[in-house]
Structure formats: structure tokens, C-alpha cells
Amino acid sequence: MEKQKKEHILSLLVNNKPDVLARVAGTLGGRGYNIETLCVDATMDPGISKIILSVIQDQATVTKIEKQIIRLIDVHSVSDLSKMETVMREMMLVRMRLTERNKADIALIIDTFRGRVVTMNGDNCVIEITSTKEDIDKAIESLKPLGIDDMARTGIVALERKK
């Protein structure tokens, strides 16, 4: 078994009920495993939700986590998307303070990361960037010196490619 810790993205199909997320989170938290990112919404079947979460663990630990999660009565399936060909995206909203001096630089960054301005309001604007986690990290690094007012990230969403 691989001992090295790396990011694993788990995709769960669960019953869309009030305390299912607490059960899943408690199953990890109660054993001391941190959830790095988390994304939940109903599927095409409104009775079923998809939870996509990521953990940074070695392979043996991830296998244990999968086995513990699948024991939950409200969980229908668990798959480790990091083992498959997967499309992964994350979205970020970031609010920038606008000055005469930073506008051009911000525009350049938006262009580089294929983002867009969602709203502009006098001296500030909200930018949306959807990309890989790595690119979002890079975008934040570039925007930081220009004055980030606040930001929010969705966490990873992922979907396996079909052959």
C-alpha cells in the first residue's frame, strides 16, 4: 500500500435527508480525518444527493474511510474519483477593491484565468473564476497583492469521464 499522503476525491450518492451530511462528516471527523473540501447538491433524482469531498490521506486510510462511509444506511455508493479519469473544477468568487492603479492588472488576471466580472459597484467588483484547484490557487496568489477584499471557493466538483 502506498504510504504517501495525497488528495483523494470521494464521490458519494446519499439519501437527500436532513442529517445525512452530519453522518458522513461525523464518520470522518470522529476518526480524526479532516475534510478538505466539500460540495453537495441534489442529483437528477431529488431524493438522492451527491456529496463530493476531498481528503488528504494515504491510500490505506482512504480505503478505510470508504469502508466506514459505505456502512452508513443512507449512503448508496462511494467512489474514489482520483483513481479514475476525472474532470475536476472549482469555482471562486472574489471581491476586489478597485483603484485606478490596479484595474489593468486585475483585468489581465481575469483574462489569463478566463474569469469574468460578475458585478461592479463603484470602488469594488466581484470576479468569478472557474478552473482547476491549482489554477484557482495561482489566481489567488496573483490577485493578493492587488487587494482582495473577500473571497469564497466552492471546493472541488468532479465527474468521471465516460469512455
Binding site: 442529517d19 452530519a22 453522518r23 461525523g26 470522529g30 490505506a60 480505503t63 478505510k64 469502508k67 466506514q68 459505505i70 456502512r71 452508513l72 444506511i73 443512507d74
Partner: protein, 569 residues
Amino acid sequence: MFSLKLKGSQIFIKALEQEGIDILFGYPGGVLLDIYDELHRSGLKHILVRHEQGAVHAADGYARASGKVGVTLVTSGPGATNTVTGIANAHLDSIPIVVFTGQVPTPLIGTDAFQEADIIGITRPCTKHNFQVRRVEELAKTIQEAFYIARSGRPGPVLVDLPKDVMASTTDYEPLPPREKELNSVPKAASKKAFYVLDLINEAKRPLLLTGGGVILGKASEELREMARRTKIPVTSTLMGLGAFPGTDPLWLGMPGMHGTYYANMALTHCDLLIAIGCRFDDRVTGKLDTFASKAKIVHVDVDASSINKNVMVDVPIVQDCKTALQSFNQLLAEQNFSVGDEQRKAWFDQIAEWRTNVPLTYCNSDAVIKPQFVIETLYRLTKGRAIIATEVGQNQMWTAQFYPFDEPNTLLSSGGLGTMGYGFPAAIGAQLAFPDRLVVDIAGDGSIQMNIQELATAVQYNIPVKIAILNNGFLGMVRQWQELFYEKRYSHTDMTFAPDFVKVAEAYGLMGLRAEKPGDVEAVLRKGLAHPGPVVMDFKVAREECVYPMVRPGGPINEMALGREMAN
């Protein structure tokens, strides 16, 4: 077919009847009045306990002894929170129970109403599953689901929270058809592995079976006996599995682990094939993991995939219930006309016999002071090993496991995983109600018995003839033992000399109390107590600083055992 209009409380009773439940352990309260009113009218037997923890342990003891699902009914708030230890206890030992808790009316949930507790949130990590019934239409279905989840796959406790208004409202009721499909249905591929296991047995020179509570829960004792005898593989079992294989069989090695027999621990350390069935490799069994069965190929059968490769990495995982796995294996043995020559096992049996002769399981008896082991040995002799035995937790529990060999499954009720002091007595009450004609004995310590002593009133009220044998050493004995061995005898807060006179306590509750102070009294007290038709408390004043040996240091390798006081220091 026309349907009936019924109240939630009536549907509750009907749903229990449909599950074949005939007894529940409970304690009423404000939000349960509708249900208790229906109970009054129904044919269900209800045992009024004196504390809700006792109700859960009694349901648990009933389940362990009978193999059926135990049921508890308690009120909201403190009634519900008092069940938590009992639920966690059943959870760690995978015992099928359903706990019904009352809840404040749905409009009041979340308002910090009187006697409100978020019991769903509180018990989420210690139940197999829990439900809150928000609409009366869901009630029958939820109760059916709860029992199904409790008993299927790896069993466990399920809690169902019942808001008061749901019990009071009405709906159309039709009996549900019984559930068919069982959870965790058996993967077919697993039986193919039986061939591989057979090859391993053929190649092995020093094979060993390690069995656990899963064999008892899976009702697979017969299959285990057939397999062990046919393959002539010696057997050791965790505390939870005692009785699945006869404690008097020549292949039996006793319990392994921290207080296991020398020969079981040596066999585990030196075996070259370990077939583990329905056990989960608890730290009390394995000791230091690096040296546990390190020379062996390990086969692990368990119904719960999450038990496999959790603590011990195994070579052949088989995710299957014990009964199915053993059945398919025995079938293969029969088809292959499998037999083992005496010669093939001789070296291994000789080695085990040598270990057994050199270091038998024993203790130093005394003429002056009652040795706790002597009480248990005498109890074994007088009951011919046929009693149902409940234990509390600590020294009393380990001495029972060592000196009362169990020949039948479901006859030892002991809190293995959680180690709950106060478990044994209410569990014995539950077992006695499952088997009114059998002899049920709780082997207790003076510390443990005080943790649920209020249930003496329950035993007297319903004339439940449980016999309690208190091994009274005036100490929290096991903790004191650790203080002696690892903390230079600094007995910090383990002296229990300040205790009530247990004979007088028994008499105050209205049952028989007996006391033995000298070794010569032991048999007479036991004879009198066991022959008495009602409940009895027997107080044995035993050697104060007796230790449980052998003992493996916590975290140490199991082949390094202290065998007596001299070697421990």
C-alpha cells in the same frame, strides 16, 4: 381490504407485535403517555426498570442470550440521554437492539423545550442507525426498517425517536408485508476463496482458528465445531466469542490476549496459518501489532468489510457472514473427503501440549482467605457449567473468562468492547426473562454492582431469580492491579472499602442476601443461593489484592506475559 384509522401510539404497538416482540424494558415519562396508555391495554410484557441505562442493558442481555432483538422504551430528554452508555455498549459489541425514545412534539423540537434532547445528534456515532419519525404515516415503515437494520448484516443498536404529537395523531393503517431482501447479501465470489483456504490448510504445519463474537451473532457455532474438528485445527476465541466452541474440547486453547492463556498467546505468535472468523482484532487481543501472528498467513472472515485490514493486514479477506462462510467451507471439506492424519498435526499438538503443561492456567488457592478464582471454579462445579453467566467489567470479568469454561454460545454476557461497569446485572435480568427456567448468574465486583444496583427493585418486583455473586475485594480491582504493576502501588482513588453492607442492601430491597467470609463458606453460600427460587445477592469477601494473570503489558507483544506477581515487577 379496508384500512383502519389508528393513532400513532396504536400503530407503535401493532408494529412491535408484527416484529414478534413480546417484551420490552422501559421507563415512562410525559411524552410517552399515549404509548403507555396503549401498553396498558396490550398483551406486550413491559418490565419497569429503575434507570434507563438498566433498560438498555437488559434489552442487550435479552438479545445476547436469545439471539433475538431486544427492545427499550424510554422518555425524552434525560430518559433518552440515560440510554447512551447502553447504546454505545451494544454498538461496540454489535448487539441487535431497538431503542425507542420519546421526543417533545414536533413544533417544539429545537426550542429547548422541557425535557428536550437532540438524541438523534447525540447517538449518531454510537448507533448503527437512528431515525426521528416526523409524520405518523412513516411510523410503521420506520419501525420495520429499524428492526431490520438492527438484526441484519453486522447487527447493532438502532434508535427511533418518537415525537409526542406523532404518537397522538391518526392515520390509515395496514399491516406491512414482511421485508424480504436482507442487507449485505452474500457475494457469491467469496465461496471460491474456500478452495484457496483449503490449500492453505493443507500446506500449514501450525494452523490456528481465532473466533469472535461474529460466530455467536451469526449463529454459526455448529458450523465452527464441524470445521474445527474435521480439520483438527486448535481454537482460541476472543471474550466475545466464548462458548461458540466448547471450552472443554481438547482442541480448545482458552482466550488469547492481555489476560489470555499462555498457550493461546504462544499459539497465536507461532502459528503459520491463522483463520480468523467473526472477530475484529481488538487491541486487547492482538497486543503489539508488529509481532501479532507475524509468522502466519491470515485468513479473515467478517460480515463487515470495514473490519478487514483495519488493525491487522490479512492475506485472504472474506466478506461474508460466518455461517455462510463456514457452511460453504464445510461443504467443500465434505466434497473433497477432507481428512487430516494424526501425524500431520503431531508436532503442532505436541508443542501446544508442552506450552499447556509448562504454564497452565492456574492460581494459588488459600485456606485463609477466599480467592476470587476459587469462587468461580466452585460456581462452575455446582452449575456443571450450564448456567448463563453475565459479568461486570474488570477482574471479575477476566476471571470468569479464565475459570468458567463455556460450552454453549449465548451463555456468556459480557461487555467486551466498551467495558461498561454496571452492565452485568441488568443484562442478567434480560437473559433471565428470555430463559425463565435457566439459572442466570451475574459475576460482579463490588465496584461494578454499585453502578446499577437500583435494578434490585426490578428483580424483586417481577421475581426475576437472578443470582448475583459479588467478588468483593474492597477495590476497583483491575485499576488497582494496574496501579500496583505500573504506578508503584499508589492506589489513587481505587479503595472502595467505603461500601454498603450488600447483604443488608439485598434485604432492604426485599431479596435474599448471603455472605461468605472464609473459603469454607463458599460452597455452602453458593449452594444455598443457587437453590433459592428468587433473586439473591451473594457477597464473597475475597483476597483484596489478587491480580489477574497471565498479563500482557498494554501495547506489549502477547508472547511476553507476566505469569505472576514476581514476574510482573
